[in-house]
């Protein structure tokens, strides 16, 4: 493995749940609960998981958009959560984020050109004279047409907005990109274009990714290492090929079986997860997945499975593996 660019150690993020008129904190949503992984330079790490399992929160906490509850995030040898505001700001261009919801992440009163170009000027990556060219360049790269440059976000379709978000992040030529469902809203053709762009940059510029998605086919295509999240924690972490060839955790298996196949004639056998979906505020005892696991035993109800290292960069948290 290449040298680690980002190291996440025991990251936790709890959101308080407040009740009553005085909004007293009654309990916590453990959105991210003890997550550790590393991403090497030029590596794409795929984060897959149930919706609400804390993927976005993980991404945002890593970039310190919300303050962590516990844990460390080492990036290029610095603990991001220890940096001063100004130090962090200086570091920002090198680690970018593509937001899950493109619309709300765009300032409604800012034209697309400025949205993409402002940070370039701010970090002196472009001059007033050439910023427009640079913006047009990156827009083209992300599948946006030049005439889009003077439009406002609401004048775009959902997919176009997503591309604006990508272009905005890419314009800064980051070393590390957290992409939160960057292609979910895109049609397949553009999707392909973006994924090609991502892998090209990965290869040519050594750009690293934390790629959050639930489209396993996309993840498979881009990522070399994949983490599966369930209810705030990683349940499985493995290199791509191993994971797809031999998923270990029951949840991973269920996920893989649920990917729809673009062929109306094929009907696949899905693993249907039964049982109630638990709440992150009040997670089940023992293995958090046991309420829905087809193979759950009594032990799973009581004992929290350790995130075991199985060697060859494979980790899993399951008693029965």
């Amino acid at each position: 493995m290449s040298e680690p660019l980002l190291e996440v150690k025991n990251l936790k993020k709890y959101f308080p749940i407040k009740e009553g008129i005085f909004k007293r904190t009654t309990s916590h949503v453990k959105a991210v609960d003890d997550v550790s992984f590393t991403i090497g330079k030029g590596e794409a790490f795929g984060l897959v998981g149930e919706s609400g399992s804390g993927k976005t929160t993980t991404g945002q906490t890593i970039l310190r958009l919300t303050e962590k509850t516990e844990g460390e995030v080492w990036y290029k040898g610095q603990n991001l959560h220890d940096l001063s505001k100004e130090e962090l700001r200086k570091l920002r261009p090198s680690m970018q984020l593509v937001f899950q919801d493109p619309y709300s992440s765009l300032n409604p009163r800012m034209r697309v050109g400025e949205a993409i170009g402002e940070a370039l000027l701010e970090h002196k990556l472009a001059t007033k004279e050439d910023v427009r060219d640079k913006v047009l360049e990156v827009m083209e790269l992300c599948g946006l047409a030049p005439y889009h440059i003077d439009r406002y976000p609401h004048e775009f379709s959902g997919g176009q907005r997503q591309r604006i978000g990508i272009a905005r992040a890419m314009a800064l030529q980051p070393d590390f990109l957290v992409a939160d469902e960057p292609v979910a809203a895109l049609d397949v053709s553009i999707q392909a274009q973006i994924i090609n762009l991502f892998s090209e940059l990965k290869e040519k510029r050594g750009l690293s990714y934390l790629f959050i998605s639930h489209d396993l086919s996309v993840v498979e295509h881009l990522c070399t290492k994949i983490g599966i999240m369930y209810l705030g924690s990683l349940v499985e972490l493995a290199p791509r090929d191993e994971l797809f060839a031999n998923p270990l955790h029951p949840y991973t298996k269920a996920l893989l079986s649920a990917v729809p196949i673009p062929d109306p004639t094929v009907k696949r056998e899905r693993i249907i997860l039964k049982g109630d979906i638990p709440s992150p505020a009040n997670p089940p005892s023992g293995c958090r997945f046991h309420t829905r696991c087809p193979y759950a035993t009594a032990r799973c109800e009581e004992e929290v499975p350790a995130f075991r290292d199985l060697g060859q960069e494979r980790y899993v948290a399951c008693h029965i593996v």
């Binding site: 749940i17 976005t56 379709s157 049609d187 392909a192 639930h214």
Partner: protein
Amino acid sequence: MEHIVEVKSLKTHFQTGEGVVKAVDDVSFSVKKGQTVCVVGESGCGKSVTALSLMRLISSPGEIVGGEVYFEGRDVLTLPEKEMRTLRGNEIAMIFQEPMSSLNPVFTIGEQLIETIIEHQLVTKKQAYEKSLELIKKVGIPRGESIMKSYPHELSGGMLQRIMIAIALSNNPTLLIADEPTTALDVTIQAQILDLLGQVKEEFGTSILMITHDLGVVAEMADYVVVMYAGKVIEEAPVKELFKNPKHPYTKGLLKSKPIMGRRQHTLYSIPGQVPNLADLEESCYFSDRCESCMDICRVRMPQLREEADKHHVSCWLYEEVVAQ
């Protein structure tokens, strides 16, 4: 099977500084009772605008400038506002593409769910509350009670999307318009939602007009597929026919672009070029710029949508006899 919705030559345009954006231009299609029609197409080609036009929810600077939309025989576009209102959320429900901004930030999820039910059904608040809880559970969100009390900003994207779905399903609509209902969901939940939609369809005979990019979902859900490009329908066919036998070069490109699990390629195929600017279109096949089998006529005249094979319509000069001459 009767038609629930018949869209005839719908035209929706936006007046902008750059000129008139013809987001939907002369679009016709129909949805039959109990059928699921999927609309696919390049992003920005007018799918959402079409859906919004059906609901008559286009707001300034957009305007529906022509066409008819028949819902159960009545022209939705000329219906008085009051009757239209009884349709919305009740007979026709819609799931919006961007759930985060589509829910009112200052009301709780519960309030927003309950009010929809109370508006269209003769139930007490209590009953509506029960029903809401049930819906939340149905769409796969745990801790319904505390979700009812949360505000939209406290939920994850996927959860919001499911709340939107719950709201749309709350009155068992005759027609459900779903604009990318599962994009924010992981596959297990997506499967669950798709199952749910299937169930609803079964149970209430609901017709679904679904907009999606996920060809896997299309393959799974659709009975019939409409492909749009630059504000126009360029191809439509029953789902199996379309996947088996795509005709329009754009459709072919789309199918080719889709990454498929287990079949990894070094680079994915993608259609070259850009969707043309909808504000400044010239008489031609709008796809001609990007088409690999572009002919001279493609650059000067627009092909008509015509039935090519059984129930398979396509709009491409490749299939017009005229060209052969």
